[in-house]
Structure formats: structure tokens, C-alpha cells
């Protein structure tokens, strides 16, 4: 479980996050949604320690991550897997080397065990015969899958996904969503997903947090989001005609 408590974050002339408190449950997909520039990515960066908060706390299973020293933070970071918006695969490494990299760095596995683990992770994300390809040689959807395989290589307790569907076609988006859902349930991990994709919200959103102007504006689940009367949330969710039709059919 991850708990964010009274988080404030200000940059030079701007308050980006204002008193954010959220609990991200284990074994569930916790979605963070919101408009561009609302502070979602900043919140995620604070949670993984890439940015320091102005004030507030981030607890990983009760341990205050913000208060930890650099070396202690590293120990928690080893339990975190992250899928980046642009996949962030290492260009100079092949697909297999990308997945193997955290194992080489931190595990005491034998060569054979590492090889098996890489095979397992790539198979788990349905990537076969891509081991020796470089990131520049694979598609966007494949990159996301390699990113997930790398994120789960070290058996993480926490998985962060920053806009996992951005730049993907609808079918591939569903594949990635399902993969995140399966992995979360299979390994009982705490998954935090930032998304703009309303299809993902409806498909996989166990817990949903709507960030609006740097504030925790609304919290609920995928059933509640379709019934809410919150104006700002409705403006965001039903921005497209397609979603308006869904709401209409849902209320009928």
C-alpha cells in the first residue's frame, strides 16, 4: 500500500500540488486522471522520489519515503517498477538486455536464472522472438510491453505506469490495459496508473482519483465515475461525444 499525505509542491512561481492525500491500495489498479498540467506527473515523480515535495509525506507500507536518506530510498526504489510514457528503454541495449539490466545490477542470480527470468518476463507480456531487437527496431506497443517486462523483472511491490496508452492504437491500448490488470492481480502489487484514456478508466479503474488544479478533486471507482454530479469531473470525462453517448446509454 502507498499513502500520500498532505502533499504540497510549489515551483518558483506556481503551486502545482495543494494538500493531496490519497491511499493507493495493494492488489488494485489505482488511476490518477486529470487534465494536462493538473499535476498528475508531478505527483508521480514525488511518489517515486524524482522530485522532493515542498511538504508532506509519502508512505510505502508505513515507511515515510520522503524522510529517508538517499541510500535507504534506493532500497525502496528497488521494489518499484515503472512504465514510462515514452517507454524509456535503453537505446544501446537489446530488448533482452533491457529486461535483464536490473537483474544484472541487483540480483545474485546465476546466468541461467537470469536468462530464465528474462524469458519469463518477455513471455508474460507476449513478446516472443524479439530478444535481440533494439528499441529502435520495434513498434510503440512492443516498446510498452518491453517496458512492462523490465518493470516486473525484479518482482516489484509497486508498479507505476505513466500514460501507458499514449500513442497506441485502441486495440493495442486494450492489450496493455489487460496486461497491467493481470500483472496487478497475479503478483498482488500496488499499481498506480496515470491516464487520459477514458476507456482505461472504465476498463481497469479499481480506484480513481481526479486531480483538478493541483487538488484531489474527486475519488471513487469506475461505477461511481459514471454517476457523479461533480461538474469539473463530468467536464473532463464527458468531453467527447462518444463518452456522452455512453453516459446516456448508461443512465437509460
Amino acid at each position: 500500500m502507498i499513502e500520500v499525505k498532505n502533499i504540497f509542491k510549489s515551483f518558483v512561481h506556481k503551486d502545482v500540488l495543494k494538500d493531496i492525500s490519497i491511499v493507493f491500495e495493494q492488489g488494485k489498479i489505482n488511476l490518477i486522471i486529470g487534465e494536462s498540467g493538473s499535476g498528475k506527473t508531478v505527483l508521480t515523480k514525488l511518489m517515486v522520489g524524482l522530485l522532493p515535495p515542498t511538504s508532506g509525506h509519502v508512505y510505502y507500507n508505513g515507511v515515510d519515503f520522503v524522510a529517508l536518506a538517499f541510500a535507504e530510498k534506493k532500497e525502496i526504489r528497488k521494489q518499484i517498477g515503472m512504465l514510462f510514457q515514452g517507454s524509456a528503454l535503453f537505446d544501446s541495449m537489446t530488448v533482452a538486455q533491457n529486461v535483464r539490466f536490473p537483474l544484472d545490477m541487483f540480483s545474485e542470480m546465476s546466468e541461467e536464472e537470469k536468462k530464465e527470468r528474462v524469458e519469463f518476463c518477455l513471455k508474460r507480456v507476449n513478446l516472443i522472438n524479439a530478444n535481440n531487437l533494439f528499441p529502435a527496431e520495434i513498434s510503440g506497443g512492443m516498446k510498452k510491453r518491453v517496458g512492462i517486462a523490465r518493470a516486473i523483472a525484479m518482482n516489484p511491490k509497486y508498479l507505476f505506469c505513466d500514460e501507458p496508452n499514449s500513442g497506441l492504437d485502441p486495440r493495442t491500448s486494450i492489450v496493455i490495459d489487460n496486461l497491467i490488470k493481470e500483472i496487478t492481480q497475479e503478483f498482488n502489487i500496488t499499481t498506480v496508473v496515470i491516464t487520459h484514456d477514458m476507456n482505461s478508466v472504465i476498463e481497469i479503474g479499481d480506484n480513481i482519483t481526479f486531480i483538478y488544479k493541483g487538488q484531489n478533486w474527486w475519488q471513487g471507482n469506475k461505477q461511481e465515475i459514471l454517476k457523479t454530479n461533480n461538474k469539473e469531473l463530468n467536464d473532463f470525462v464527458y468531453a467527447s461525444d462518444f463518452m456522452k453517448k455512453i453516459k446516456h446509454s448508461f443512465s437509460n
Binding site: 524524482l50 526504489r77 515503472m82 515514452g86 528503454l89 539490466f101 536490473p102 544484472d104 545490477m105 541487483f106
Partner: protein, 246 residues
Amino acid sequence: MTWLTNIGKYYILLARIFKKPEKWSIYREQFFLEVDKIGIGSLGLVSIISVFMGAVICIQSAFGFESPWIPLYAVGVSTRDIIILEFSPTVVCLILAGKVGSNIAGELGTMRVTEQIDALEIMGINSSGYLIMPKIIAAICIFPFLIIISMFLGIFGGYAAGVAVHAVTSYEYIYGVTYDFNTYYITYALVKSVVFAFIITSVSAFYGYYTEGGALEVGMSSTKAVVYSSILVLLANVLITQLLLS
């Protein structure tokens, strides 16, 4: 005040770079990759420049020494001293600042803007240590070899050109090259190459590592890396020369 902030950030980065590595074997592997990239990858450029510059230095010396009072072997002496004292350790390092510096800044800048550095940090890896330390150590180890090769090729280029255009005879050139040779010059040149290697790699890495933005900013970081590392190399050159030769 930006320059003061940058100096502070540079020293903080250096402190992070030289922290204990997570796994020595991985860093060792990276070190050899960098030796190949920085050293072997620069060998062709260094060789071509050294041969031609040696040739030009020899011909210019011969042209300037056209006096019955100056013995012809002085062409060999001056070519040797110019190449060993200044051309190989300083000019070649300035050229390497362009090649290696822009490469390092471009590579790290691209890794920064494509979130690859963030990915390393989240894995619990000291990204600055993993990415920069092998580059600095590889350059410190390989630059002196490149400079020694440059010295040999520069002197050889002078010999080949001098003899070919009949500016100097083979005997006089070789006599001049070996005449009253001070081995301390080699020590001086190698000390300079080690210091310049550190400046070029660390300053370029600094500008690459702290890149913010996109492709345009990566290009700007590469330019800054080359400009500032070249200026610092020239400043360090004056300081080292005063310290070691005065």
C-alpha cells in the same frame, strides 16, 4: 549568478559520480565500452590530424629557419618541441573536446529527455555514477595513449613532409628530433592530457546530464559542452604550464 549555481551543481554532480558503485563488474564492463568508444573511436581522427599538422609544422619551421646561422637540424628540434609540448597535448585535446565532448553531452542529454536517466534512478541506480564515472576514468586512461600516438605520428608526418619537399634531410631531421631531448617534456604533456581528459568528460557530462527540454536543448547542451570544456582546457593549460615549466 547562473554561473555560480552551475559551479555548485557541477561539484554536487562530481560528488555523486564518485560514490561507491552498485556493482563493480557492470561498471568495469561500461569502462571498457567507453575505452573503445572514446579511445579507439578517436584514433582515426587523432592520427590524420597529427600526421598533417606535423607535416605543416616541419615545413613552416624549415621556411622560418632559412638562415646560414641556424643549423638545419633545428627544424627537427622545433618540430619535436612544438608537437610534444603543445600540439599533441593541447590542440589534439581541444579537437577531442569537440568530438568526445559533444558525443557525451548529446548521449546524456538524449537519455535525460527520453526519461532513460529517470528510469535508472527509479531502479535504485546512481545514474550519474553509472553513466559518467566510466567515461571519466576511460578518458583519463586512454587520452595519454592517444597523445603519445599523436606525438609519434606528428613527428613522423614532419619527417615525411620535410624529406619529401627537400626542406630537410633525413639525417638532419632525425638528429634534430633526438638532439638535447628533455624527457620531462613527455611528463608535462601527459599530465596535461590527464587533466584535460577529466575536464572534457566531466564538463560535457554536466551539460548533458542536466539537459531540460527536447531535441533543441540537447543540441544546445552539446554546443555548451564543447565551448566550456575548450575554454577550461585553455585555462588549465596556462595554469599547468606555469606550475610545471616555470
